[in-house]
């Protein structure tokens, strides 16, 4: 105090800074989530929250545990690489409670042409038909079995 005439003022300024800095540190510790910075400049727990989203598509492995007979027929035919839910739709709910949630009935008139209607941009090697001319209005299922579509290739499924 003897060296500076008004040393008390300086002390108060320092005190204000120290108080402000401590308040900042305390608030930051309280408000920033604990997982922030765990892996980078983001909230680490966000990863787990996104991973906790429920699934809608059960996956063909799940389908095949209960329907191995259909899987055998399908995997022996032209549609071997087509997964069940590609046509049947998302059925994780059906897999969870098979009796309560029934899969919807499918309409081959919509499903087959989705992939097989002729389109100039489709790969030339992919089997395509002009549906109107091809079947003369008959549903595809009259001749083709969807699980093994080559005519005469498999038993009716």
């Amino acid at each position: 105090m003897s060296r500076f005439k008004d040393g008390g003022h300086l002390l108060r300024v320092v005190l204000v800074f120290v108080l402000g800095a401590s308040a900042f540190l305390v608030l930051r510790a309280a408000l920033v989530p604990r997982s922030f910075g765990e892996y980078g400049h983001y909230r680490g727990n966000a990863i787990n929250e996104i991973a906790a989203q429920p699934i809608a598509f059960a996956g063909h492995q799940t389908c095949e545990t209960c329907h191995p007979d259909i899987a055998t027929v399908k995997n022996a035919g032209k549609h071997a690489g087509v997964n069940c839910e590609a046509c049947h739709g998302a059925l994780a709910k059906h897999a969870d409670s098979p009796v309560d949630v029934r899969p919807p009935t499918l309409d081959t008139a919509v499903l087959c042409v989705r992939c097989h209607q002729a389109n100039g941009a489709r790969p030339k090697s992919f089997p395509q038909v002009n549906a109107d001319e091809h079947s003369a209005g008959l549903p595809c299922g009259t001749c083709h079995q969807p699980h093994s579509p080559v005519i005469g290739a498999g038993a009716k499924q």
Partner: protein
């Protein structure tokens, strides 16, 4: 009940413990999954895509994507024989309900499925001012919707146009590479629904993943390589005119 100062002081530690739980958030959902053992990407084989729109519908179902917004979509390219650099591109409703017959005849025609490239050095994560979007240690670009302030910087920054502002949450949204599925050992919804195998989920850190053999034996490219984004959406048979 009157809360006295004594009671308040006694309750403080309990509140502190509870707040700790709030900050800690949700627990690990897949305990058997180790992030450091994976580096995810995807392979798209254009020569196999038939433009059926299954991937677009599957993605919307799996991830509750609002109508008119897309985490993945399919474009149809028509390249005339006389103008190779200016393709005609259409994508009605993102290809969700398939594609009508071609209007143009001749030329080169093909489908290009698009989605987030899960870039290793992504522009979208670099521009986020609040740390709401990031790349996980296993290589998936995600959005923390609790942190996102909806400023749209990332939507402008993405060179591939893969982000949108979710009208329900007013936060940035995008493909998560079905993070909730791949951490459980499942493939993504789009790959599950693809009837021709044009899309394949790829784990670049797994030496047994078929992608390594595929890349060795095919001409594989990424979109906009000159932007040095470290894109991990690999295309086979990609025409040079695709943007």
């Amino acid at each position: 009940m009157n809360l006295t100062r004594r009671h308040f002081l006694i309750l403080l530690p309990a509140a502190a413990v509870a707040w700790e739980a709030v900050l800690a958030g949700t627990p690990e959902t897949s305990p058997n999954y180790a992030m450091t053992e994976h580096w995810w990407g995807m392979l798209v084989d254009i020569s196999k895509c038939i433009g059926c729109g299954n991937c677009v519908r599957a993605c919307a179902t799996e991830n509750d994507v609002p109508d008119g917004y897309f985490r993945t979509w399919v474009e149809r390219y028509h390249i005339s024989d006389y103008d190779l650099t200016n393709p005609v591109v259409d994508s009605p409703d993102g290809g969700k309900e398939g594609f009508p017959a071609m209007l143009e005849s001749g030329g080169k025609n093909f489908f290009v499925p698009k989605m987030c490239n899960h870039c290793a050095d992504s522009p979208c994560t670099q521009v986020c001012p609040v740390g709401a979007t990031f790349i996980t240690p296993d290589g998936v670009v995600l959005v923390d919707k609790k942190y996102c302030i909806g400023c749209r910087y990332c939507i402008q920054a993405c060179p591939y146009g893969c982000r949108y502002l979710n009208p329900k949450t007013q936060t940035a949204d995008k493909c998560t590479l079905c993070y909730h599925r791949i951490t459980q050992g499942l493939t993504t919804a789009c790959c599950e629904a693809c009837p021709t195998g044009a899309r394949q989920l790829a784990d670049l850190k797994n030496p047994n993943d078929p992608i390594h053999e595929f890349v060795r034996t095919h001409d594989v490219q990424v979109l906009k390589p000159y932007m040095a984004t470290g894109a991990k959406l690999f295309y086979n048979d990609l025409d040079g005119s695709v943007r």
